[in-house]
Each structure stands twice: as structure tokens, then as C-alpha cells.
Subunit: 224 residues, 2 copies
DNA sequence: TGCCTGCTTAACAATTTGATAATATTATAA
DNA sequence: TTATAATATTATCAAATTGTTAAGCAGGCA
């Protein structure tokens, strides 16, 4: 059961489509493409992507029009929308943001920039909503220090909570044991090998749910 | 609804100013803009806005300085102040909370998030209209320094009252011990480790009600 | 001054947490 | 299949954190 984020790209230039698609797939995203504005709306409705990249200049409906249409549908109120624009036109930027776009990408596209911008948008998005991460029946509220599962509040100890929050911050991503140690214990502190396991166990026990998967020889990942 | 709420926005980037202005005006707010820290202070004095959005990074006086200056003027003791920060620097967040900001907005700005955050800030403070916070059977009157529980008036000492009022201002939110120290004692004063505990105990005792929860290793939160 | 009140602190008790050791279990490659 | 490495489980203990109580101290006030 993969939790990879879905990204829809709409552009009429096949080359650009391919470049973006390739780079995002490398990052582990699931990519859907569309060749026109109407196609984009079609695909969006079908796949309900997490993020949509819209070229502003497209035959038929342009990106801004597509954005307007989508934003008026309840399913896409919270979807991240990013515009692709030529460097030149400044005016469009503002117009686009007014329409409810979340960010811009300028042509020509630099793959590294593209990828890091997309990644950071997702990161921000996850933190938002008042710091609540919601995944299926589980909600992790950083501010209230609370994990809710099926409407029931579950109290985790500090380390347990931090560990769960870390894993849940990127569902599907495998966290290496070292990575976990650095993030939660810091580089100074050194703890034994079995420490992580024990915390993982406690989380599993308290949540009473198999949402943390062991990847033997590598680490752990969170997924529903 | 008598008159529209006034919001002052200070940022040196015209684009951002315009985006925010547009979105807030759409929501029916009256918007004033300022292009620098000094300008912000100027406009604030003239228009006495209900809420001020300050970019942290500005030429001349930065947002934190402006906040400090305003907070020291009686007219702006109760004004809502929100910082705009680049998502990178976490350190500034903490510094900002110490200065007396009411919330944060992260760049890049997502208009929907901006608007809903502003709305919810106003909602939160309308609840404490007349300076009274009401939560279930508990009413906290900021002006009279009075707490009423089940119709009975309870007298809390100043520090106890401030502590309760702080926690109750955001039910459910966990306040870190440091956060509490900064909000109630300020950054200058340093008090011992057990001071907070003792006050918490007295509140619990006087209210005779389990509404303050300890989150070990983290802080305290208020909930019914 | 002497009393009261509120705030802080010290000292100790109570509690919770997190790390580890010891052991069992599982997955994987030979 | 078996040997082996990696992880799961469990119990235990030290350390960290908080709760409680009482005492000290400063300021306000009659």
C-alpha cells in the first residue's frame, strides 16, 4: 500500500512534461500528466493529486483558468497548485497568486530547483493545518502533543511521540536507524542499539495498529 | 458586526504586500500597508489597526524591533501581532514568541492558510470579549482578575491568575515551560525550577478541578 | 512595628521515563 | 534447511521530571 504523493503536471510541451516527470519520479512521487487545460481538469478529477503543476500558457484553457475552476470544486480547495511561468511576465504572478496558487516555478526549469521546491511545499503543507498531521484514522497534533486514533486520544511519552511524529512526517519514507538517532537523540547522545526498537514497540502497542513497518537491515517507515 | 477590522501589513516586497492585501480585502477586512519598519510604526499610530502583520526581515527596523516598540506603547498592548518569516529560520520563531507575537505565518504564503489563520485569530480573541474567557463551567475575567467556577467566585493570586489565563487562552495547546516563563516572568527574570509547579498546584487546588494536564518533559496544557 | 499576603525556594517524595540487558523470535542468504 | 544477523519482547533499574509541603522573604498596610 503505497502512500507516495501524487503530482499532476499539465503542459502542452512534451519535452517539459517529460523532464519534470522524470525528476519527480526519481524523488519517489507518482506522476500523472496532462497535455491541455481540459485534460488537466479531467485527470485531476480522476486521480485527486496532492499537487498540481500548471503551465500558465496552454492552448484552450490556460493555467489560471484551470486553477480557478479547480479551486471552486470542494475536492481541490486544499490541493497544492503551482504555476509554471516564463520568467518574463511579472503581472501573471500576482494574478496567479490571487487565484489561489501556492507557488511559482519559472521557466526555464532547473530540475534541482524544481524538486527542492516541490519537496519543501509538501513539508510546509504537512506542518500546516495548525501542525496537525492527519493520515487516515490517525491524527498527530504537535501543538497539543496528542495522538488521536479513531477518535480516541492516546498518550505517548515524549520520545515515543517524537519518534512517531518523525516517521509520520514523511509517510512511506524509510528512516535509517542513524537518521532517527540524529533527529531525535541528536549527534551528541549515544544510545544502545536496542533503544529504538523498544520505543517502536511501545508505539505499536499503544496505537494497537500496524502502521510502522520494519525494513530489515535499513530502518523503519510509517504507512497505513 | 459594526465596522470592518483593520489590518496593517508591513513588508518590503511589493508583490507580497499586494497578495496579502488582495486576499484580506476579499475577506472584508480593511487593509493598510507599510513598506518598512518605520513606516509600519507610523501607520500603526495613525490607524490603530486591530491586527498587524510584520515581515521579520525588513530594511531598517526589522519586524521584531517594530513589535518591541509597539508593545511598549499602551495603545498596542492588546493589538494582535503576527510575524511573517521565511520557513528556514526556526530560531526566530522562538525569539518572536518571547517578544510577544501572537502567531506566525510562514513564507511562502498560501493565501488560504493566511486567511483562515487570520480569521481564527480574530475568533479566538472575540471569545475573550470584555476580557472574559469562558470554557465550560469556568469563566476567566481578565479585567477583574476573577475566576468563576460553577457560579462561585475563586480568588487567585496575580501570578496564579496569569498562568491560568495563559493556559486557558489556547485550550489544548501544550505550553512549554520556557514559553510559560517567557510569557509570565519575561526574559529578564530567572526563577527556580519548581516555581511553575507550585503555582500550578495552587491553581489545581483552588479550582478543585482537573483541568490542567502535565505533559511530562514538555509542559502543561489546559483542557476540560 | 507587627501582621498579612503573595512569591519563591529548598527539601524531599512520588512518579514517569528511557536505556539496557537478557532472551526470544524472525528474516535472509548460503 | 540451517546458520546468522537483525529485530522483537520483556523485565529491570537509574535518571529525569514533577508533586508536595513547609519555610523564608519582601512589600503593603493598619
Amino acid at each position: 500500500m503505497s502512500t507516495a504523493k501524487k503530482i499532476l503536471i499539465a503542459d502542452d510541451e512534451p519535452d517539459i512534461l517529460e523532464i519534470i516527470q522524470f525528476n519527480l519520479q526519481q524523488e519517489g512521487y507518482e506522476v500523472i500528466t496532462a497535455k491541455s487545460g481540459d485534460d488537466a481538469i479531467e485527470q485531476a478529477k480522476r486521480h485527486l493529486p496532492d499537487l498540481i503543476i500548471l503551465d500558465v500558457m496552454m492552448p484552450g484553457k490556460n493555467g489560471i483558468e484551470v486553477c480557478n475552476i479547480l479551486r471552486n470544486m470542494p475536492s481541490f480547495k486544499k490541493t497544492l497548485i503551482v504555476f509554471l511561468t516564463a520568467m518574463s511576465d511579472e503581472g501573471t504572478q500576482i494574478q496567479g497568486l490571487e487565484t489561489g496558487a501556492d507557488d511559482y516555478l519559472n521557466k526555464p526549469i532547473r530540475p534541482k530547483v524544481l524538486v527542492s521546491k516541490i519537496n519543501s511545499l509538501f513539508r510546509r503543507f504537512e506542518k500546516e493545518d495548525n501542525g496537525i498531521i492527519t493520515l487516515g484514522e490517525i491524527a498527530i497534533d504537535r501543538e497539543k502533543y496528542l495522538v488521536r486514533h479513531h477518535g480516541k486520544d492516546i498518550t505517548l511519552a515524549r520520545k515515543e511521540f517524537e519518534l512517531l511524529a518523525l516517521l509520520a512526517s514523511r509517510p512511506g519514507k524509510v528512516f535509517l536507524r542513524n537518521e532517527i538517532l540524529n533527529q531525535i537523540w541528536g549527534t551528541e547522545v549515544i544510545v544502545g542499539d536496542r533503544t529504538i526498537d523498544v520505543h517502536i514497540r511501545k508505539i505499536r502497542q499503544k496505537l494497537n495498529l500496524d502502521c510502522i513497518t520494519t525494513v530489515k537491515g535499513v530502518g523503519y517507515k510509517f504507512e497505513l
